[in-house]
């Protein structure tokens, strides 16, 4: 058995949780203490047994008015998939223009999420080479 101490992030109360979990991989939650409401138990189970996260990064853009477009996952993905998803995002180089919300990658690392553009990048009026 393992004891894990986590701060619940569901609401501003930020309950300090003491979570007893099994030694399995992934671990199973055996008991939770310190929560003020049932959401704390649900969150602890999710967080210990199958933690999920959203992640943001940026991709290279060619011929754009900016060198980068910021992107993010459109839903949460398993925490342990983040390195693989980041690797997939890193390989992307796309030509401008890119629209807000445009899907640039589907199901990276089998996660069933989409990587979406969070900043529109218009085509450069004058290319950066010409300016240099």
């Amino acid at each position: 058995m393992n004891l894990r101490e986590l701060t619940c992030v569901v609401c501003p109360n930020g309950c300090p949780l003491a979570i007893t979990c099994s030694n399995d991989d992934p671990p199973r939650v055996l008991s939770v203490e310190g929560h003020l409401c049932p959401r704390g138990i649900r969150w602890a189970k999710q967080e210990v047994e199958a933690p999920e996260r959203t992640i943001a990064s940026s991709i290279l853009v060619t011929g754009g008015e900016m060198p980068l477009a910021s992107v993010r996952t459109d839903r949460s993905i398993p925490l342990k998939k983040i390195p693989e998803v980041m690797e997939a995002i890193r390989t992307l180089v796309l030509p401008a223009p890119l629209a807000l919300g445009e899907v640039v990658l589907k199901d990276p690392a089998g996660t069933e999420c989409c990587i979406i553009v969070t900043r529109a990048v218009a085509s450069a009026k004058v290319s950066r080479e010409e300016v240099a």
């Binding site: 290279l60 980068l68 529109a120």
Partner: protein
Amino acid sequence: MSLMKVEERDLVIIGGGPAGLAAAVSAWEAGCRDILLVERDRILGGILNQCIHDGFGLHTFNEALSGPEYAARYIEKLGQTGVEVREQTMVLRLGEDRVLQLASRGSYSAVRARAVILAMGCRERPRGAISIPGTRPSGVFTAGAAQHLMNLENIMVGNRVCILGSGDIGLIMARRMTLEGASVAGVFEILPYSSGLPRNIQQCLNDYDIPLHLSTTVQKIHGSRRLEGVTVAQVGPDRSPLEGTERYIPCDTLLLSVGLIPENELSRDASIPLDARTNGPQVDSRFMTRVPGIFACGNVLHVHDLVDYVSQEAEEAGRHAAAWAGASESSCEGTLPVLPGEGVRYTLPQKIAPSRSTVLSLRVTAPCRNRSVVVRGEGRVIARKSLVRLHPAEMIRIPLEAKSLSGVSQLEVALG
């Protein structure tokens, strides 16, 4: 100067970040039809442009947006109004008479406004403000400067990183640099508690096994051309380093996340009285400063932790500024002072009008649990808010009803 033509405007808003954007849209919706928004950057959006992580807009849109997406929502709304936007234009001076001197590439102009909204935001406290001894090598950045370089300019700032200060920007950058291949040796916080949100401690540090060292500070910076390492030491209750706890950590990059300073140079020029606790202007219930017709909102007024609250505050300020610009009012209202008491670092507005319902914003001085914030006037309790968790990093808001304020001459806000 005297020969120059002075343009007349109803409302001028200084700054096109989240505060300026929300203020402009709300002033337009309130009926003001002659609004000029001045932004010194190339694009609108302010600091949101470099905040590519999500979590913005949970209150406003019930969605976890990235910074650029949150900004885009307001920029789109602004595009549907007739507000005039001047980018790459900087306000050099603001006078008490509400005359602004503007500079943009190759031109200079002056504008007289019936009302002005200050929405200049804040900047980061730099190394010079915290006096770390040692050499002056490259590789020492404020966390926000590094965030700008990485997220907007595609420049990786370093490979082995130490972070001083556990503010949210520092935590976010610890994750960002790790995901981009750097190794983050640790986050060092002089206080015995973190000043970041719990979810950021978990998702930016714990997820990547980045250690957080509390009651620890950077004592010395080493390196001649590029940073070579830092000496860290634990501190005692008086925050001075404890002898014998020093250790050397090799690194090529030090990020500073040690606080934000409201950017009030223009306000000082205009003789606007500031509050020593917030470092922003003193305002009344309408977010008007002590100089008639000049309003303030967002991080220039007091540093916020959530952009949603910046937008709400700016919408209020925009509405009141529009009303001021459209009327022939000339009085400063707000005769009821609000004072921070035991356990409260500051409260805002500093003076309120007893005739208006007002939302008080405040911060506590130290973390605690299961306490109430109590607003008292003439010995009676006007309002009370009980909270499970209270933290200096998290702003608390308490609504006050106008009808509860009759017969009160002064308010005190304290932990009960």
